[in-house]
């Protein structure tokens, strides 16, 4: 090993290590500092997971909403139609019906007839009603606090009457200018103009109201022998004909669906009545092995799931001699249906926040996603900055030992990319699994086929990408600065 120290010092360029060798050194570096690297990876993973969870949760929420909403419409057709022949329709409902239906809709035609509206006026009113609809939706979606501040908390039905008053409108305008939140759907002036138009048509609303009341009374008079829902559950052609005659349906309305829902509702009611009879209730709860108090439709549906229990139930009906007869399969069917209905309505309510506003999400959800995004950025940047800055001394030492600037840089780029990829991947996958599990707990296992797998896949990639890019960016800059400093300057940075 002995060398001649008399030789001249000749300075060359330091060798450039191959990419493979550099990668090897970086991986060794991660391995040497395995625990610290794992901590960094974990922080990146948590940050990415947080963001990914929020994103996945919202996407799943929206998909579930879309599904449950379309299921709920079937139930709502019946309820909306019941409202239409009921006493609770007011002027604003009429106005909004005109704004959301086409001119050949049977309701529009009936309204025109009741209100004695000629065709031109009808068209004019419908146009205004259409333009008004976004304002109703806007007011509907305001938080109760905002409603109170801006319009004294009046219900949506009175919104236009309220706004037609000059003083109220002025207050509303002032508050609107001050508040952020939901974006106003049009101009304030248009809102005032539409409100005044609505008020100016008061005569027509009166006509419609009395015409409609007359029609309802005439219908009720013709079918007064039993409760109206009984007729609906057991309809005749004459009934259908009368509905059309009085303006409560036309041949396009889904009357068969309405009748079948009415029949289900009636059967559910009958079953409910049976379960409420105190004698039978006592016997049944004993049979089911639960307390008298906790016997409800849900518990009964669970009990009725097995053939053996169905037989027990029928035997009990016979033994107690209650006045009840229904096909066992029909009981099963309506139990399933009523549970499904409850479930669909519940899920639709739960996921309402994922259904509206920008990007299809409500303001609150967008805030959550935004905040989680910021948390992700800050978390990753901080983790990477820390892991580079605590190593300035190491960088300085390596430079003393002959590491080139580019080797130091490459080491950090490789290392942080590896950490970013691993952390991003773990975090995204973890969040994905978590959000799917949570969805299954919240909405039931039947949610699986409804999940938006494409969207989830894309957002997994996005979350991972953000993890990698942020990790690389946040460590490359300080490493770049430190690697270009003289070793002693770098050491002083600590």
């Amino acid at each position: 090993m002995k060398t001649d120290k008399k030789e001249k010092i000749v300075i060359e360029n330091q060798v450039r290590l191959s990419t493979k060798r550099t990668l090897q050194i970086s991986i060794n570096g991660i391995y040497y500092r395995l625990f610290r690297s794992l901590v960094t990876v974990a922080i990146v993973a948590v940050a990415v997971a947080f963001m990914m969870y929020m994103l996945a949760n919202s996407l799943i929420g929206r998909a579930v909403y879309v599904e449950s909403h379309s299921n709920a419409i079937e139930y709502k057709v019946y309820e909306r139609w019941l409202d239409w022949i009921g006493p609770d329709i007011d002027d604003i409902d009429i106005f909004r019906t005109l704004g959301s239906s086409s001119i050949d809709d049977y309701r529009v035609q009936a309204i025109a007839k009741w209100g004695k509206i000629d065709e031109d006026t009808l068209k004019k009113i419908m146009l205004s009603a259409q333009r008004s609809e976004p304002y109703f939706v806007y007011y509907d979606e305001l938080s109760p606090g905002k409603k109170y501040l801006m319009a004294g908390g009046i219900p949506t039905g009175e919104f236009f009457v309220y706004m037609a008053d000059k003083k109220n409108a002025a207050i509303f305008k002032e508050r609107l200018e001050k508040s952020g939140g939901l974006t106003f759907p049009g101009s304030f002036d248009e809102l005032v103009q539409l409100s005044n138009f609505y008020i100016s048509q008061a005569d027509i609303w009166n006509n419609v109201s009395s015409g409609r009341t007359e029609a309802i009374n005439a219908l009720k008079a013709a079918y007064s022998a039993k409760s109206f829902s009984e007729y609906l559950a057991d309809p005749t052609d004459a009934l259908t004909g009368d509905f059309i005659k009085f303006g409560f349906a036309d041949s396009n309305v889904d009357l068969p669906l309405i009748y079948s829902r009415a029949k289900t509702a009636k059967d559910v009611r009958r079953l409910n009545d049976l379960l409420r009879q105190s004698n039978f209730r006592r016997e049944l709860s004993q049979e089911m092995g639960i307390s008298n108090l906790s016997l409800d439709m849900d518990a009964f549906a669970k009990f009725y799931g097995s053939k053996k229990n169905q037989e027990k139930f029928q035997a009990l009906v016979k033994r107690t001699g209650v006045n009840f007869s229904m096909d066992p399969d029909r009981i099963e069917e309506i139990l399933k249906d009523s549970q499904l209905k409850q479930r669909v309505m519940e899920v639709e309510q739960k996921t309402l926040a994922y259904s509206r506003g920008k990007f299809g999400f409500s303001i609150g959800v967008i805030w959550l996603i935004g905040v989680s995004f910021i948390v992700c950025i800050v978390g990753i940047t901080n983790a990477m900055l820390m892991s580079v800055m605590e190593r300035f001394r190491e960088i300085a030492t390596m430079k003393c030992l002959g590491a080139t600037d580019s080797l130091v840089m490459s080491m950090f780029v490789f290392e942080s990319c590896i950490q970013g990829v691993v952390g991003g991947f773990l975090g995204a996958i973890l969040a994905l699994l978590l959000s799917i599990s949570v969805a299954m707990i919240q909405y039931g296992a039947s949610v699986l086929p409804v999940l938006p797998y494409d969207d989830l896949g894309i957002s997994t990639l996005i979350a991972m990408g953000i993890g990698v890019v942020l990790a690389a960016l946040a460590s490359v800059y300080p490493a770049y600065v430190a690697s270009r400093l003289a070793p002693m300057e770098a050491m002083r940075l600590e």
Binding site: T3, K5, V10, V15, T397, L401, A486
Partner: protein
């Protein structure tokens, strides 16, 4: 090496010192540290010549500028003004990759606080400069083991720095500094953190390297024992050279010197 760099050599000095080859030369070396509005002059024009193969101690009170001097001639920090020549090469003229080559192959560094890479074993620390030099792994490990043997730590090759005593760590650092067979060994208070016995061991290794391998050893130090070992001593005071003495001169006036060491 380019001709340009050879031209920078100051020929007058070279002629007068012809009998002994110069390895490090500084010309009116000045280093200022700026901290806000305050400027500290750590070195105020140091002219110094160090010869090949000698062992020289740089002494002086705390804050006199020893470490600063050490960093300047080692290419670890850049001077504010003045020049450093390492065997006719102007350090300021070197590119980043050339500087890396200089640090890797020509100079070995030993610090007061060892500066080992704490995640690596003794052997990996010793072979790190070889890895940076592109030496293949097998050869690097063989040479690394030889060097650990040289400092008497061959059986500790797989130990991490925290598993070793200060003296052992410093000896690993010495082995590492010798990794690519440098011409110059720069030591900044190599024994300051060590007790008498381990300090002695470290000094013995340095002497051995100087005598057997003809490495030029430049040592910033407070250690009295250096007086008996080094060929020359240089005292710095307030960033300027106070005086330079050979060992024989020092040993004659040994009585008066003690007081000036600290």
């Amino acid at each position: 090496m380019t001709n340009e760099k050879e031209n920078i050599v100051d020929s007058s000095v070279k002629k007068t010192e012809e009998e002994r080859a110069v390895i490090v030369r500084t010309l009116r070396l000045i280093k200022e540290y700026k901290m806000g509005s305050v400027t500290t002059q750590a070195l105020r024009g140091v002219d110094m010549i160090i010869y090949r193969g000698e062992m020289i101690a740089v002494m002086g009170p705390s804050g006199s500028g020893k470490s600063t001097f050490f960093n300047m001639i080692g290419g670890l920090d850049s001077p504010s003004r003045g020049r450093v020549f390492i065997d006719e090469v102007d350090v300021a003229q070197l590119s980043a990759v050339e500087l890396a080559f200089l640090r890797c192959h020509k100079i070995g560094y030993i610090f007061q606080s060892y500066n080992l890479l704490r995640y690596m074993t003794a052997l990996e620390n010793v072979t790190a400069p070889m890895v940076f030099a592109g030496v293949v792994e097998k050869e690097a490990q063989e040479r690394g083991m030889d060097l650990l043997g040289l400092v008497g730590l061959a059986d500790r090759w797989h130990h991490k720095p925290i598993q070793m005593s200060g003296g052992q760590q410093q000896r690993v650092a010495i082995a590492r500094s010798m990794a690519n067979n440098p011409t110059i060994l720069l030591c900044d208070e190599p024994t300051a953190n060590l007790d008498l016995k381990t300090g002695r061991e470290v000094l013995d290794v340095l002497v051995k390297l100087n005598k057997e391998r003809h490495v030029t050893v430049i040592c910033a130090t407070h250690d009295h024992r250096m007086l008996n070992i080094c060929d020359r001593m240089m005292w710095i005071r307030d960033g300027q050279i106070d005086r330079i003495k050979t060992r024989s001169e020092v040993n004659i006036e040994v009585g008066s010197i003690d007081g000036e060491l600290e």
